[in-house]
Symmetry: C2
């Protein structure tokens, strides 16, 4: 068995956001995909250790911001390598609020979802959300996970499904 074969799967780069009371929180995700077309639903996988995980369960709504190749790399650093539990990731991030959900301004598109189901695995929750709003914000090529690794030379944090020691 060669675990490197798993690196041949393709992904995008996203910030998944929600709120906890009056505070906004969010984290980087790469495992997101559309599940059904009409009504549109998407699934996104988030580690149990990500504070955003428990906040999606209590808020039952989340936004998925699609990052493009020209996104400010600070967004990936802020949302991917710190915890919303002890740090306000939105303090130095340009964002706007739509239907009570935060959206990073520097995304190419956003998708707003209502949580309709979730599945627990050993380390991650697969959230299934029904899309109730989505818009394209700017003209940029969506960043693939492979672009993040090979061009930006980015790393995977420990909580990523694709993390390897």
């Amino acid at each position: 068995m060669d675990k490197l074969a798993l690196t041949k799967l393709s992904y995008g780069m996203y910030v998944v956001c929600t709120k906890n009371g009056d505070n906004f929180c969010g984290c980087i995700a790469n495992s997101a995909m559309q599940i059904t077309s009409e009504p549109a639903t998407i699934a996104v996988s988030i580690n149990h250790n990500n504070y955003t995980n428990q906040c999606i369960k209590s808020n039952r709504e989340f936004s998925l911001c699609v990052l493009g190749e020209n996104v400010n790399p600070l967004i990936i650093g802020t949302f991917g390598f710190r915890s919303s539990k002890d740090y306000d990731k939105f303090a130095n991030t340009k964002f706007f609020v739509k239907d009570s959900l935060p959206i990073c301004e520097d995304s190419c598109a956003y998708i707003l979802c209502k949580l309709i189901d979730f599945v627990e695995t050993s380390t991650h929750t697969i959230f299934v959300g029904e899309v109730f709003d989505s818009e394209i914000i700017k003209n940029d090529t969506p960043m693939t996970y492979s672009y993040y690794h090979n061009v930006i030379k980015g790393k995977s944090p420990k909580n990523a499904p694709t993390y390897m020691e």
Copy 2:
């Protein structure tokens, strides 16, 4: 709401195979992602109308073949636009068998999974499989769904999660 925002999600191109008794079956999927790292699990979404869907439920094992940019386009035509119910897709496809599961020879990698859970949505099943074997077969860049659309000018069949009229 602009449904085109959903086209900004990134995917790969895969053939998901399994067997039904002595017969092999399979279909094209683009919605697949790794969920956990250790043990490795992956999720793949397949339309209820795909014959492969019911066969995975009865066989409880499946293979995920990762297609590369240089794959023979006939594979996409065969596995994406016909049904295994009334056509033997493997009759004109080069494949080999590992642990009783068929694998398309012209893939860059394969991942073999044991079904551990599944979630039903209105039109698709999200299968969650634990990886028990995976290998890289050949050196080719994994094809993204965007490459399939923009370079190969491929279309989405009606059963795809990302299908739009």
